[in-house]
């Protein structure tokens, strides 16, 4: 397998998504928005109206809080941009996708193949992982403009909904495809073969902990 580089729109066609393979490197063009726990709770639990036309304006949900500021004249300065770990948002994502038609979920570390198969695939969505982590300065260079910041008063800078115009923003790695296959689980399986050798000679701690497993091929997320 060799690494392929692909330019992708933040409102991608089903055909463009079908082209993507696990491990492809992607650069994005178009509008993306940040949404994480603050936005999900406000939109889904508190039923606030989402202040964007989704998915026509953007089908790309970035799990991100940028290192950015709002200037006194209302303009924005965005420095570095990186993702936060996505697995914590599984609780809200099915409803969010249904409501917003998001096709690209972008974040850190991906989701489980169970998540992909149960609600990514039916919604025709895939997962893009940031690289590193994190290449904050490189991604920051891909920010052509900050178009708006929604819900800053309610949620604060870190949880607000930032609307970003991307110009060849990347790199991102394709971590799930339209089949619901999971790049990270594929890598886990390859690594699993060697785990026993690394642990050779060690023994379990004398004081156990509740919920503990001795199967290192399992994940803790």
């Amino acid at each position: 397998m060799s690494t392929r580089e692909i330019r992708l729109s933040t409102t991608p066609t089903p055909e463009a998504l079908a082209e993507l393979r696990l491990g492809d490197i992607v650069y994005l063009d178009g509008l993306m928005y940040t949404a994480r726990e603050g936005v999900y709770i406000r939109a889904l639990e508190d039923k606030a109206n989402i202040p964007m036309e989704l998915p026509s304006e953007s089908a790309a949900n970035f799990h991100c809080s940028p290192a950015a500021r709002i200037n006194s004249d209302g303009s924005f300065d965005m420095g570095a941009v990186t993702a936060t770990a996505s697995f914590r948002f599984a609780k809200w994502l099915p409803e969010w996708m249904e409501k917003t038609g998001a096709k690209l979920i972008i974040g850190k570390g991906g989701m489980s193949s169970k998540d992909y198969k149960s609600y990514f695939v039916p919604n025709g969505a895939i997962y893009l992982s940031t690289v590193g982590y994190g290449t904050g300065a490189l991604l920051g260079r891909g920010v052509e403009n900050v178009e708006a910041v929604h819900w800053n008063d309610e949620l604060g800078l870190a949880q607000a909904m930032w609307v970003i115009r991307c110009n060849r923003m990347g790199p991102f790695i394709v971590a799930s495809d339209l089949n619901g296959d999971c790049l990270f689980e594929r890598e886990n399986a390859k690594i699993a073969e060697n785990i026993a050798r690394a642990y050779e000679g060690t023994k379990p701690a004398v004081l156990k902990r509740y919920g503990e497993t001795d199967d290192r091929s399992e994940e803790v997320i």
Binding site: G79, A83, G110, G132, Y133, G136, G156, K190, T202
Partner: protein, 318 residues
């Protein structure tokens, strides 16, 4: 007397440098890792990171969007005095943290744990942390800021003497496995291990081992230094690299610090200082001189002393 204005201005510069400039020792370690990495995806990740450090410096923007939870370590020579006293120093460090959060900009990461209140400036109850240490000689102060990510890669466990070195090894591997998958720990990292102390000090020792010791340093106890080398090797033999992809670089350096503990126990903590191992240091003198560096030089013989009295002559003879 060291001027409070100098302290605040220097602290702001340090916040900026820490967020933007990767320390040379870590950069060298990562370059070495990139040269040896043959996992295709892992190798891509390391090359992207090297490019990212350059981009951050060129553009003067933070290297990572998660600018961590900024904190301070302050060390004072025994003869140092600060204009306005230590309360003024704390105020200056809080002001510098707030002001740099806006000027760099950093991500305002600090919120109330329950009410999620965000002052948008990384200052709040207990934030930034400010820790102190002293040295027997000197009229300078060292300001050290560390911007460490805060969610994954850290764990604590009470082990016992009967667990032995094999037990330590196992918990170390467990921490790498748990947080290395999917790259949650943002490895390859500087792994800090704290052994001994009471529970809180055990965590503190491990944290300091990861953030206050540079890549290439070793513990002065030769048997601990051997363990450090062995553990680095062990971590890199799992077959896991950056982002949890197949690879052979998980650990850039493994630093172990110890403290005396309860006779029945052997508490252990593990910390991972990530691909954005951000620290910046400056020494300030009463005549207004400021010297910047990236090695905190925290663990001096005085910090690791084990006798009742401090007798440098005696230590030197050993």
């Amino acid at each position: 007397m060291i001027s409070i204005d100098l302290i605040q201005r220097t602290a702001e510069t340090l916040m900026n440098k820490a967020a933007i400039e990767i320390p040379q020792d870590y950069l060298d370690g990562l370059k070495e890792a990139a040269n040896t990495e043959d996992g295709e995806l892992s190798s891509f990740v390391l090359r992207a990171m090297l490019e990212n450090y350059e981009a951050a410096k060129e553009d003067r923007r933070a290297m990572c969007g998660d600018t961590g939870v900024p904190r301070w370590f302050v060390k004072l020579g025994n003869g140092a005095s600060v204009e306005g006293g230590m309360v003024a120093l704390e105020a200056a460090l809080r002001r510098a943290t707030a002001s740099a959060t806006n000027s760099v900009p950093l991500r305002p990461n600090r919120v109330h744990p329950l009410w999620r209140t965000d002052h948008n400036n990384n200052v709040g109850i207990g934030a930034p942390e400010i820790e102190y240490a002293f040295e027997p000689e000197g009229d300078w102060i060292d300001l050290i800021t560390v911007h460490k990510g805060g969610l994954f890669g850290t764990d604590y466990r009470m082990l016992f003497p009967s667990d032995g070195i094999q037990g330590i090894k196992r918990f170390y591997l467990d921490s790498l496995m748990a947080f290395g998958k999917r790259g949650l720990a943002c490895q390859p990292a500087i792994i800090g291990i704290g052994l001994g102390g009471s529970k809180d000090i055990c965590m503190t020792l491990g944290k300091r081992a990861s953030v206050l010791r540079v890549v290439g340093s070793s513990n002065p106890d030769p048997r601990i230094a051997e363990l450090e080398a062995e553990f680095k090797e062990l971590g890199n033999s799992i077959g896991m690299g950056a982002m949890g992809f197949v690879g052979k670089n998980m650990v850039i350096s493994c630093n172990i610090e110890v403290g005396y503990c309860h006779t029945g126990g052997m508490p252990m903590s593990v910390h991972a200082f990530c691909l954005s191992s951000r620290r910046a240091v400056a020494r300030l003198w009463p005549d207004g001189r400021v010297e910047h560096r990236t090695d905190p030089d925290w663990f001096t013989p005085y910090q690791r002393r084990e006798t009742v009295e401090w007798e440098p002559a005696l230590e030197a003879a050993e």
